[in-house]
C-alpha cells in the first residue's frame, strides 16, 4: 500500500527517500521504523545536504585526539596529559517558538555532548542573533533567550564567558541561538559513545520519557516552519538540576571501568542515541520500550523511540557491572533502568515486550543519502556588491563626534554587559579575562597554561560575499585570540543558513565553507566539531548566511594574557596592520547611518597571518599593555572601546586621509589597536619589521577626553555613557 504524503510529511522524508528505504529494506517499513528513518535521515542528524561540503574543512592537526563526527564532540591535546573537548550547536528553531526553554535546552544539550566524553564542562559561550529591539516580539525573544541561558547555565555551575550578540532585520522571526561548551579532561579518561560487546547492557539514566519534543529533529531543525503554534509541543522543557546531577554522577562513573560507552540523548532521542552508539561500536542493539520509564501514560513505541525529553543518558554497561552502576546513580538520587542490550547481529531491534516493532540494519539507519544540490551564484549578488561611495556624502569634521556617539549607543556596538552580568562567568575559579574583551581567558589549574575562547561570524559580510565572509569569520576569531595572547588550536562551528534546496542558499553555504576552509588552512586551525542549522527561513525569507566560528586558543603562560583595555597613562597607541581608508563595505556604519548593506568585504589572509604572528610575538615578549581587534565600527570604535574599558582617555590623529567616514568607521580587516609604554618602542619596531607588518602611531593614552585631531573631541564620560547604556536604552530600560 503506498504511503500517504501526509505520513511522509510528518517524518520529513521525501517520496524518493521512502522508495529508497523500501528498496534497501526489501519491504515496507513499519510505522516505528519509518519514524526512526525520519529522525536519523533528517538534516539535523544525518547532515544529508551539508556533509559533502563539510569535507572541505581541514580536520587534522598534531594536537587532535578526536575529530569531526567521530564522537559527540571534538577533543584536542593541550599537553600535561590534558585534553580540551569542544562543540557548538544551534537551537534556533526551538528558541523561535519558545525562547526561554529553547535556549535553556540548547545549553543543556551542548553540555551533555561534553560530559558524554567524560570531560568536566568548564566554559559556555553563546552566539546570538535577533531582529531589531525596536520590535516588541524581538524584545520578547531576546529576554527569553538570555533568561533561558542564564537560568539553565547558572544552575549548572559552568561559567558562561560571553560570546556575541547582533541585531538585524533578517533575524526578526528567526533568531539564531548557538551555544558552545568546552570541557577539560585528563586524556586517559576520554570516553567513547560506543555500544559494543554482545550482551552488554543499555541503561537509561535521568529523566522519565514523555511526549515532549516529538519530531524535534525531523520537524523543527530540518524544515522551515510557518505556523509556529502547531509545533510548540516539539520544544522540550529543561530541568537543569537534573542535568547537574547527571554531570556529577557521569564524571564519577567514567573513572571506573564498569562501562564501555556513554551517549547522551539529544535530537531524535533514544533512536539516535542507541543506533549511533551501535554504529560506532559496529554492533547491533535491542531495546524494549516497555522498560523505558514514562512520565505519561499511553505512549506508543513510536513516541518512546523519538521523544526528545531532556536530561537523559544512555550508559552501555559491561555485563555484571550493572549493580555497581545502579548504586552509583542512586547515590545521586538518579533513576536508572536496563532497557536493552548490545547484540552481535548488526540490527537495531525495538521490542514492545514480546513483539518486535522495528528491526532494521544499523548500517542502513546510520547511512542517509547524501545530496549535492545545484548551486548558482545569485543574480542579485552583483548588485549588492557594488558600492558607489561618490553618491554618499562624507562626514564633515563637526559631524564625526555625534556619529561616533550614535555608533557606540547602537545595540550592535554597545557593551553587552547587560547580558553577561546575568551569567555566572566566574564559577570554577578559572576566569582570568571576563566577557567583554576580545576573547575570554581561563587558566588551567595545576599548570602554567591558559586557554582562550571566542566566537565570531558576521552574517552581513557573508551575505555580501560568502567566500570572503567565511574566511573573515575564521580570521577574526583567530585575531581575537591573538589579541588575548593565545595561539589558535581548534575550531567548532555552527553554520546557520536558509533552505539549501534553493540554489542561491546552497551557493552561500558552499562558498562560505570554502572561504572558511581556506582561512583554516592558511592559519593552520582544524575544525574538530560543529553543527549545521539549515532552513532558517520565515515566509520564504532566509536569514543572512551566518557561519559562527567558535575558536579555542592556547597560552603556554597565563601571565601573558592581554585585554582590550587601556592600562596606563602616557602609553603609546599604535595601529598594527594595513593603513588604508578603504573598508566601508558591509560596515556597521553604512547599515546604521545610511541603511545600506552593500559593498564587497575582502581579506588578505597572508597579511592577516603576519599581523597575528606579530601581535603574539609582542605579547609573548611582554611589550604590550593592551590589544584590541579593530572590527565592527572600525578604528574609532576600537579606540573608544579600549579607552572606555580602561577608564583612560585618548588623544591622537587619523592614520590616513581621504574620506573621514571610512577612516573612522571603515572595517578594513587585519588591524589591531595596541598600546605600549614608550620604553618598549625599539623592540616593538624590530619585531614588526621582522614580521613585515606596518605600524602606524595613532596617539597617546591619557586625560579625560576622547580626541582625534581635526574631527572629534568628546568627554570620555560621554563616550563611555553611550557605549555602556546603549543596550539598555534599546530595551527601553
Amino acid at each position: 500500500m503506498p504511503v500517504s504524503q501526509e505520513i511522509l510529511d510528518e517524518v520529513a522524508l521525501s517520496r524518493a527517500e521512502y522508495n529508497l528505504i523500501v528498496e534497501r529494506l526489501g519491504r515496507e517499513p513499519t510505522p516505528v521504523e519509518l519514524g526512526m528513518f525520519g529522525s536519523l535521515w533528517s538534516e539535523h542528524c544525518g547532515y544529508k545536504h551539508s556533509k559533502l561540503l563539510l569535507k572541505m574543512f581541514p580536520s587534522t592537526s598534531p594536537h587532535l585526539l578526536t575529530g569531526v563526527g567521530q564522537e559527540n564532540a571534538g577533543a584536542v591535546d593541550i599537553g600535561d596529559g590534558l585534553a580540551v573537548v569542544m562543540k557548538m550547536e544551534s537551537h534556533n528553531h526551538p528558541s523561535a517558538i519558545e525562547p526561554y526553554e529553547g535556549a535553556a535546552t540548547g545549553v543543556g544539550g551542548i553540555v551533555r555532548d561534553i560530559f558524554t566524553m567524560g570531560a568536566r564542562p568548564i566554559a559556555l559561550m553563546n552566539s546570538l542573533r535577533f531582529g531589531p529591539l525596536s520590535d516588541a516580539h524581538n524584545r520578547y525573544l531576546f529576554g527569553g533567550v538570555v533568561g533561558g541561558i542564564a537560568g539553565y547555565g547558572n544552575c549548572l555551575g559552568i561559567p558562561d564567558v560571553g560570546g556575541e550578540i547582533y541585531f538585524d532585520q533578517v533575524y526578526s522571526q528567526n533568531p539564531l541561538v548557538n551555544a558552545l561548551c568546552l570541557g577539560l579532561i585528563e586524556s586517559k579518561w576520554l570516553t567513547s559513545a560506543r555500544a559494543s560487546g554482545q550482551g552488554n547492557l543499555l541503561m537509561l539514566v535521568g529523566a522519565d520519557t514523555g511526549r515532549d519534543g516529538l519530531h524535534g529533529a525531523s520537524g523543527l531543525a530540518s524544515r522551515t516552519f510557518e505556523e509556529q503554534k502547531e509545533l510548540r509541543s516539539a520544544v522540550q522543557v529543561g530541568n537543569p538540576f537534573l542535568e547537574k546531577l547527571l554531570i556529577e554522577a557521569c564524571l564519577e562513573l567514567v573513572q571506573h571501568d564498569w562501562i564501555v560507552g556513554l551517549q547522551d540523548l539529544g535530537a531524535a532521542g533514544l533512536t539516535s542515541a542507541s543506533v549511533e552508539s551501535a554504529a560506532r561500536g559496529g554492533s547491533g542493539m535491542e531495546v524494549d520500550v516497555l522498560k523505558v520509564p514514562r512520565r505519561e501514560q499511553g505512549m506508543t513505541p513510536y513516541e518512546v523511540m523519538i521523544s526528545e525529553s531532556q536530561e537523559r543518558m544512555l550508559v552501555i554497561v559491561k555485563k555484571g557491572c550493572e549493580n555497581k552502576v545502579k548504586a552509583l546513580f542512586e547515590r545521586w538520587d538518579l533513576r536508572c533502568d536496563i532497557i536493552g542490550q548490545v547484540t552481535a547481529d548488526g540490527m537495531a531491534r525495538v521490542r514492545e515486550g514480546d513483539s518486535v516493532v522495528a528491526e532494521i540494519p544499523v548500517k542502513l539507519l546510520s547511512d542517509p543519502p547524501l545530496y549535492r544540490l545545484p548551486a548558482s551564484k545569485p543574480a542579485w549578488l552583483r548588485d549588492v556588491q557594488s558600492l558607489d561611495l561618490a553618491a554618499l556624502p562624507d562626514l564633515a569634521p563637526a559631524q564625526t563626534g555625534p556619529a561616533l556617539l550614535r555608533m557606540l549607543v547602537s545595540p550592535n556596538i554597545a557593551s553587552k554587559k547587560y547580558v553577561y552580568r546575568q551569567y555566572d562567568h566566574q564559577v570554577q575559579n578559572n576566569t582570568v579575562v571576563s566577557p567583554g574583551s576580545d576573547a575570554a581567558v581561563l587558566r588551567i589549574k595545576g599548570t602554567t597554561k591558559a586557554i582562550s575562547l571566542t566566537t565570531d561570524g558576521n552574517g552581513r559580510y557573508c551575505y555580501l560575499d560568502p567566500y570572503a565572509g567565511g574566511a573573515i569569520a575564521v580570521a577574526e576569531a583567530a585575531r581575537n585570540l591573538a589579541c588575548s595572547g593565545a595561539q589558535p588550536l581548534a575550531i567548532t562551528d555552527c553554520l546557520n543558513f536558509g533552505n539549501p534546496e534553493k540554489s542561491d542558499v546552497y551557493y552561500q553555504l558552499k562558498e562560505c565553507i570554502r572561504g572558511m576552509a581556506h582561512a583554516c588552512r592558511v592559519l593552520r586551525v582544524p575544525v574538530i566539531s560543529g553543527n549545521v542549522s539549515l532552513y532558517n527561513e520565515t515566509r520564504g525569507q532566509a536569514v543572512y548566511p551566518t557561519p559562527v566560528v567558535g575558536m579555542l586558543g592556547l597560552m603556554e603562560d597565563v601571565t601573558w594574557h592581554c585585554t582590550a583595555a587601556f592600562q596606563q597613562l602616557g602609553d603609546l597607541v599604535y595601529l598594527l596592520g594595513p593603513c588604508d581608508v578603504a573598508g566601508l563595505a558591509g560596515s556597521e556604519y553604512l547599515a546604521l547611518e545610511h541603511g545600506l548593506v552593500k559593498g564587497r568585504p575582502a581579506i588578505d589572509l597572508a597579511l592577516e597571518k603576519r599581523v597575528q604572528r606579530a601581535c603574539l610575538a609582542f605579547i609573548h615578549e611582554r611589550l604590550l599593555h593592551s590589544a584590541h581587534d579593530c572590527s565592527d565600527g572600525g578604528l574609532a570604535v576600537a579606540l573608544a572601546e579600549s579607552a572606555i574599558m580602561g577608564g583612560l582617555g585618548f588623544k591622537g590623529w587619523l592614520p590616513a586621509y581621504g574620506r573621514l567616514d571610512s577612516a573612522l568607521f571603515g572595517e578594513l580587516q587585519s588591524r589591531i589597536v595596541v598600546t605600549l609604554p614608550p620604553r618598549n618602542l625599539p623592540q616593538f619596531e624590530r619585531i614588526a619589521a621582522r614580521h613585515k607588518v606596518l605600524l602606524t602611531r595613532l596617539g597617546r593614552v591619557g586625560g579625560n577626553r576622547f580626541a582625534i585631531e581635526g574631527c572629534l573631541d568628546l568627554p570620555l564620560d560621554e563616550v563611555s555613557d553611550a557605549w555602556r547604556s546603549g543596550l539598555e536604552r534599546a530595551l527601553g530600560g
Partner: protein, 223 residues
C-alpha cells in the same frame, strides 16, 4: 582548624571553596556529602553556593531538610563555626539558624559582578583579620540575594551589631546605587546573636588570588 564543606545535590561552589582553602591557603579541608551525618572532627562547616535541589520551591527550602542539617544545627548549638555562602546563606535562613530571608533581586535578574563590601563588625571569628570600615572587593553571583526581614528583626540586628557586611561604594559609602540587589539596609552578610553562624551573599572563595581579580576573600576564613 579543620574545615568541612557540605555538598548538597546542586551545590557548585564546593570545589571553589576547597580550592581557596586547600590549594591557596593550605588549610585542612574536606567535603561532607549531605547524606553523611558524622560531623566529628570539624571546627568550621561551610555551606557553599550553588542551586541545591535546583532552588526549586525556594532557594534552600529543600536542602534544609537534608539529613546533615539536623547535625549542623546541633553543631552550631554547641558553638561550632558555620559559614553559609550564597545558597548556604539561603539555607541557613530557611533552617532558622539566621533571621530573615533572601528575596529575588529587586531588578528581577541574576547578577554576577564584583561588589564592594564594608566590614561593619570585626568582632567575629570571620572578620577578626579585617579593620572596621575596611572595604573588601568580592564577587556576587545570585538571583535571590535581596535580604529582607521585618522591622523589629532589622532593628534587633542593627542594635546587636549583627550586620557584618554592607554593599557600598569603593570608598565605603553605603548608597542605594551601590546596592546590587535591593537588600534592606544594604545588608550583604549577617551573623547570629551568639556570633558563630555567619551568612553572606558574596563569594569570598572567588576572591582568592590576584589572577582572578583579587584576594580579599582570604581574610574571611576563620583560623
Amino acid at each position: 582548624m579543620k574545615y568541612g564543606i557540605i555538598v548538597f545535590p546542586g551545590t557548585w561552589s564546593d570545589g571553589d571553596c576547597h580550592y581557596a582553602l586547600g590549594s591557596i591557603l593550605g588549610r585542612d579541608v574536606a567535603y561532607i556529602w549531605h547524606k553523611d551525618v558524622d560531623l566529628r572532627g570539624y571546627d568550621c562547616l561551610i555551606l557553599p553556593g550553588g542551586f541545591s535541589y535546583g532552588d526549586y520551591l525556594r532557594p534552600g527550602a529543600i536542602a534544609r531538610f537534608s539529613p546533615v542539617m539536623a547535625e549542623v544545627e546541633r553543631f552550631a548549638a554547641n558553638g561550632g563555626l558555620v559559614f553559609g555562602i550564597c545558597n548556604g546563606f539561603q539555607i541557613l535562613c530557611e533552617a532558622g539558624l539566621l533571621p530573615g530571608v533572601l528575596l529575588r533581586n529587586s531588578h528581577l535578574q541574576y547578577r554576577c559582578q564584583w561588589v564592594n563590601l564594608r566590614v561593619e563588625n570585626t568582632d567575629t571569628p570571620f572578620t577578626s583579620k579585617c579593620r572596621k570600615g575596611q572595604v573588601l572587593r568580592i564577587p556576587i553571583s545570585h538571583y535571590e540575594g535581596c535580604y529582607f526581614a521585618d522591622a523589629d528583626t532589622l532593628a534587633e540586628l542593627e542594635a546587636n551589631n549583627q550586620v557584618v557586611f554592607r554593599y557600598g561604594t569603593p570608598g565605603g559609602e553605603i548608597t542605594e546605587q551601590a546596592n546590587p540587589n535591593g537588600a534592606l539596609h544594604n545588608i550583604a552578610g549577617i551573623i547570629n546573636k551568639r556570633g558563630n553562624v555567619l551568612g553572606m551573599m558574596p563569594h569570598p572563595e572567588r576572591a582568592c588570588e590576584p589572577l582572578l581579580g583579587g584576594r580579599d576573600g582570604n581574610l574571611l576564613w576563620p583560623v
